[in-house]
């Protein structure tokens, strides 16, 4: 980093609004919270992972309009799957909610320049949406816990139908995302 880039970076830090600082701190806290949930679920600490996730989360908070946040989520999910046996109980729900909040905060932070502040109405609207997403996640977790307790056997037909629905949904999302509807 040359002196000009460093100066620009410092200027950007100084111009960052208090709301943006809050959003970025929340992003780092939720990503670390997800890692700690995994640690609580399997009762084993992962200091190196905590450092890696924290570093990536800070990088994603500094540059929210980048794909660094995707790496953060991938690392957290991979860590969970690698270390936690079974559904993981309530810690799975906490980790999932942390990921949802992390995603929402990074998306909100990326929608305006660093020095800007969103109106209260916008923040409240995003809170409502995130709460709705949290509700959906809770329902999914409850469903998974219920099935796990009943020890339900797998069903090939249902799995195939679910995959077909998922593929159709993915195609629809892709077409809505890339096409230019007029």
């Amino acid at each position: 980093m040359n002196s000009t880039a460093l100066q620009r970076w410092l200027d950007e830090m100084l111009e960052t609004s208090s709301q943006q600082w809050l959003l970025r701190a929340l992003a780092v806290a939720t990503s670390v919270g997800a890692v700690l949930s995994a640690a609580a679920a399997n009762e084993r600490w992962w200091p190196a992972g905590l450092v890696v996730v924290s570093g990536l989360a800070i990088a994603s908070a500094i540059r929210p309009d980048s794909h660094t946040a995707l790496a953060v989520v991938v690392v957290i999910v991979w860590h969970w799957l690698a270390t936690v046996e079974g559904p993981g109980g309530p810690w799975l729900l906490i980790a999932s909610l942390c990921l949802l909040v992390y995603h929402a905060v990074i998306a909100l932070s990326a929608s305006l320049p660093t020095g800007g502040e969103l109106s209260d109405a916008t923040v409240v609207q995003w809170l409502r949406r995130t709460a709705l997403g949290g509700g959906m996640t809770t329902v999914a977790w409850f469903f998974v816990v219920l099935l796990d307790r009943r020890d339900a056997a797998g069903n090939g037909l249902l799995t195939a139908v679910a995959l077909a629905v998922l593929a159709a949904g993915a195609m629809l999302i892709r077409s809505r995302s890339l096409d230019q509807p007029r």
């Binding site: 609004s17 309009d65 980048s66 794909h67 946040a69 995707l70 989520v73 991938v74 999910v77 969970w80 799957l81 936690v84 079974g86 559904p87 799975l92 729900l93 980790a95 999932s96 909610l97 990921l99 949802l100 995603h103 929402a104 990074i106 998306a107 909100l108 990326a110 929608s111 305006l112 320049p113 020095g115 800007g116 502040e117 969103l118 109106s119 109405a121 916008t122 609207q125 949406r129 997403g133 949290g134 959906m136 996640t137 999914a140 977790w141 998974v144 796990d148 797998g154 799995t159 995959l163 998922l166 993915a170 629809l172 999302i173 892709r174 809505r176 995302s177 230019q180 509807p181 007029r182």
Partner: protein, 432 residues
Amino acid sequence: MTVSVTPWRPSPAHFRAVAIGVLGISAALLFRVPALLVMATPFTFVAAWSAATRPGNDPRLVGRVAPASVREGEATTWTGELSEVTEVDHVVAFAPARAWLETRPASGIVSSIVRRGAGTTTVCVPMRATHWGRHDIGPVNVVAVSSWGAFRWTALDAGHRVTALPLPEVFDAAPSRLRADGLVGLNRSSHPGDGTEFSGIRPFQTGDRLRRINWRRSLRSNQLHVTATYADQDTHVALFVDALADYGPSGGVDGAASSLDTTVRAAGAIAEHFLLRGDRVSLRTLGSRFGTSVPPASGSGHLRRILDVLAAIEPDPYRLRDARHARSMVSGGALVIMLSPLIAPVALQRAISIASHGLNVAVIDTLPDDVHADDDPTTELAWRIRLLERRREVRTVEQVGVPVIPWRGPGSLDPFLREVARRSSAPRMARR
């Protein structure tokens, strides 16, 4: 004017939600990992919501600045009106920092939520002009964001300009009887005519108004007499503004005033004072990049015209030759006021030249007091030498009868105007 538009594009947040949602659910189903299903659920939810509420049409942006003309220290507002924003979540406008324009908030970034079902929305960036002149606004970046920040539409609005008229300093002059040569006005003419100032009583002549008949005198003398008055006429005040260079720091309307700030604000104050009295005022700029002159006229509309020309002044030291040879275009009997920091001798030369035609000329010195203070001793020494030369030049000008008056606001011109009034009634010789 919208100069650049980028249509709706997916953001990295949308890519993240789709990738983790679809791949996570697929892997959960294929490999029977219930934990992955739960973790991918919020991302699937966000991706589906974002795709379902993707805005179909590009919004239309109309940007405007109102008012386009303000006084120094007053505020104007850039307003962006977006239509066809049915599925838009919120709109962000960013006006980059510009010299002498303070935005509110200071970052110049303003966001506005779009109410559900609303077809249009507006986003406003208030800004305050802290210095006279013409200031370009923007280009203002406008970003419309869809639900969950999944899609963004950007536009650039440019081409706006605000004119900050100089805020005239407080100025007043004691009532004076100037030489008047116009048709109507507040100054007493030396010629008899239709006015209010008593001149004498004389016998009735054909054409005299009946209301002027002095009945007491007429009854005593058995002959019709009328009350004669002096005509009320106006004065032509010719302002010359030296805009060859600007000396001293300028802090805008709330800070220190440079030489050109003082010159422009003083010219505005003098023009306002005389125009409100009903006199005619003309303006000529010496050395401005956009050299313009305003012919003599009166009225509040003319004041606005003069302030507009003053606001457009940009110093240009390379126009010294133009300033030296420009025609004065000053009629006989005009009161000439030259405003200059007197660093370039051209203003004094012009003042002497005009005074030699028998006109009343005053030079207002607008150089800041501490202009010579500098960290560099060589520069400070150079300034001191130039100021000594300047003092000699001022003495020379004063010896030929042109007063050089430091600008001190109200009453600055009072001694000069009293002298002009005294001289206007006395005969004198002039070179034509």
